[in-house]
């Protein structure tokens, strides 16, 4: 090796080391920035909702009237609306997302059809929610209305059930994509072992793949739920926006995110604005709590 070559090599490697440390530092900086952002968000929400907390106290959480004219605010109908639509959407979407995950992960992992289906499902997540809202209002609502006439409930067409249906469509890709990746990561020796013992494909899925991937599948569900809790535009267009507690899943209602989006721009006095921000705080806390419970469950799965 001659000196010249050695020199350039050391120079480039010291350059590499410098680059490495810059890279590491920038990663840390980005990480800290995210934490600061969330903390700042939380603090802002708390500070801005102080007037409402002082005025209304804890009663805010369980009182049922939302009356901007008389400055009476109760979040209960919207809390119920948010939880009801999100969980209903989750229940509707799970069979579809799991079926897609199993088909694309196990039955048909390669080839043009698989790719085509995979891209289509991912496209569902990329469609702007206002498009879903209009589709819901113009296509889904009349269908639900004729269904409601058959069932014999008041045929509004819009309401909790319609909102849940739209949400279900919107959240399918999250659980489906994550589930598919998880299923493809199942080590083939495990599957081959089961096959060699004479297991059928269904038995392999049931006894090997699903137990192996359950924490991942659950994480996908959690991701879907997070999306459903915060969705605003599509929901507000089809939920009916009444500030009463829904009397059935076909009745109209409202969600926290939708109330904020509807009323924030024209909230013309301090307490009103503050009550809306506190609604944001409640939504934030609900999301955090649900995520924490979810993490707990995932941990339990993986410890077994």
């Amino acid at each position: 090796m001659n000196d010249q070559k050695l020199k350039t090599k050391t120079r480039s490697s010291s350059g590499m080391i410098r680059a490495e440390s810059i890279f590491k530092r920038s990663l840390i900086a980005v990480g800290i920035a995210m934490v600061l952002l969330v903390a700042g968000l939380m603090i802002t929400l708390i500070i801005e909702s102080v007037p409402s907390m002082k005025n209304l106290g804890l009663k805010y959480l369980w009182s049922k009237t939302w009356d901007p004219v008389n400055n009476v605010y109760g979040a209960l109908p919207f809390l119920i609306g948010t939880l009801l639509t999100s969980f209903l959407a989750l229940i509707i979407s799970i069979p579809f997302s799991f079926a897609i995950a199993i088909y694309l992960g196990e039955y048909n992992p390669k080839g043009w059809l698989s790719n085509f289906l995979k891209n289509t499902v991912e496209l569902i997540a990329a469609v702007p929610s206002v498009i879903y809202g209009f589709w819901g209002l113009l296509v889904l609502v009349p269908i639900v209305r004729s269904l409601e006439i058959k069932v014999g409930v008041l045929p509004y067409g819009i309401g909790i059930f319609t909102a849940s249906l739209i949400l279900a469509v919107m959240i399918i890709p999250y659980a489906a994509s994550l589930g598919r990746e998880m299923i493809r990561l199942v080590p083939s020796p495990l599957k081959e072992g089961a096959y060699s013992l004479g297991a059928t494909r269904y038995e392999v899925i049931k006894n090997v793949i699903l137990p192996y991937t359950k924490s991942g599948l659950f994480a996908g569900i959690l991701l879907s739920l997070g999306r459903a809790l915060g969705e605003t535009m599509a929901v507000t267009m089809v939920i009916g926006n009444t500030s009463m507690i829904p009397d059935s899943i076909f009745g109209p209602g409202n969600t926290m995110a939708s109330v904020i989006a509807n009323e924030f721009t024209e909230a013309d006095h301090t307490l009103y604005l503050s009550a809306l921000i506190e609604l944001g705080l409640v939504l934030f806390v609900v999301t955090v709590v649900i995520n924490m419970i979810g993490k707990r469950i995932i941990k339990r799965f993986t410890n077994e």
Partner: protein, 355 residues
């Protein structure tokens, strides 16, 4: 790795440039005396766009108007980030207190709210009286063939459908005007619900925006809702004739809305012209106001800038009125225009009149 760094660097550089560009734009607009800033009412936005484009062509002065809603416009004027705000309702007590200094309301044009409905059959322009409207929106009249409705619509063939009330779910000037009207004509509405940009509706479903309400009404036979007159005209929707204070059934139109404003006005122009005394006036109408500080010397603004603003607003209530009718807005009545002139003349710079 190296390409990654390269793209990272480029990304950083790009975002820095972008941030610089954004702050730069803000600085330029704040300092440039050829550009006036306004924000507020989305209802008046189409008219303002047309007016300000024409004003720019004539004078070279550019007006940058952000249609962010009346509440947002008032907030921006409170924070002194714009030269003028625009609102579909006058300032309430809390907002006035927040300003702390006198703010002028200058009427620009008026609009109306129409009752739209979906009744199969040839039911164009049914008649409605104030107490019928109030009881429908209170949820007390539940079917269309209610004796009170049929008694004022003897020639119509009104089906016996259940009534579904549709209202705005978002806070809006439209709701403010409509609930203000209902509070004036119905004591029960006033005590139970009251008037504001968003209220606690005793009945019905909420749709987002004019299009949300219109969507509900168009889809559901028997539905009734309220939308802006402009929206109803543009979308060829059915709307009701409404009985005014003098007992006449008035069809909402540009002329009948202008007439509604032809009443004795207070000197500050802060008036809801709902339930008007004018014999040919349509009763559910209201002004959109431009809001400015009475004393224009604040935040180190130049006298030149204040004068430009006042000249623009003077033009708005005179030559600018020519653009109202083609866009389905109702121009100011003679009475309203006179008051608006007086208000503009009361604006000062260092205590001295500007115009």
């Amino acid at each position: 790795m190296q390409t990654f760094f390269k793209s990272l660097k480029q990304g950083l550089a790009a975002s820095v440039l972008l941030a610089a560009a954004i702050t730069n734009v803000q600085l330029v607009t704040a300092q440039d005396d050829k550009t006036l800033l306004g924000a507020g009412s989305s209802f008046i936005n189409p008219l303002f766009s047309k007016m300000f484009a024409d004003y720019n062509a004539k004078t070279g002065i550019q007006v940058n108007y952000q249609s962010i809603g009346s509440g947002g416009g008032i907030l921006q004027l409170t924070n002194k980030t714009v030269d003028f705000g625009a609102s579909d309702g006058p300032l309430n007590d809390e907002q006035t207190a927040k300003f702390g200094v006198p703010v002028l309301h200058i009427p620009q044009a008026s609009g109306a709210v129409v009752i739209t409905y979906n009744l199969p059959g040839n039911n164009n322009n049914i008649n409605l009286t104030p107490d019928i409207i109030a009881d429908i929106f209170l949820g007390k009249i539940k079917t269309w063939n209610d004796a009170r409705i049929t008694s004022v619509n003897k020639r119509m063939n009104i089906p016996g459908l259940p009534i579904l009330v549709a209202h705005r779910s978002d806070g809006s000037g439209t709701t403010n005007i409509f609930t203000n009207y209902l509070s004036k004509v119905s004591a029960e509405w006033k005590s139970k619900v009251g008037s504001a940009g968003a209220v606690n509706w005793p009945a019905g479903l909420g749709g987002k925006g004019n299009e949300g309400v219109a969507g509900l009404v168009k889809q559901t036979p028997g539905a009734v809702g309220y939308v802006e007159l402009i929206y109803a005209l543009q979308n060829k929707m059915d709307y009701a004739k409404i009985q005014n204070k003098k007992g006449k059934f008035i069809i909402p139109s540009i002329a009948s809305v202008t007439s509604a404003g032809n009443v004795k006005m207070p000197d500050d122009a802060k008036i809801f012209i709902t339930d008007t005394d004018a014999p040919d006036g349509y009763p559910i109408a209201g002004f959109t106001w431009v809001l400015i500080y009475k004393e224009q010397n604040y935040n180190g603004r130049s006298k030149d800038r204040a004068t430009k603003l006042l000249k623009l607003l003077w033009w708005n209530i005179h030559e600018g009125q020519a653009f109202t009718q083609p866009l389905n807005y109702s121009p100011l009545s003679k009475e309203a225009q006179k008051i608006a002139e007086k208000i503009l003349k009361s604006a000062t710079y260092d205590g001295k009149a500007i115009l």
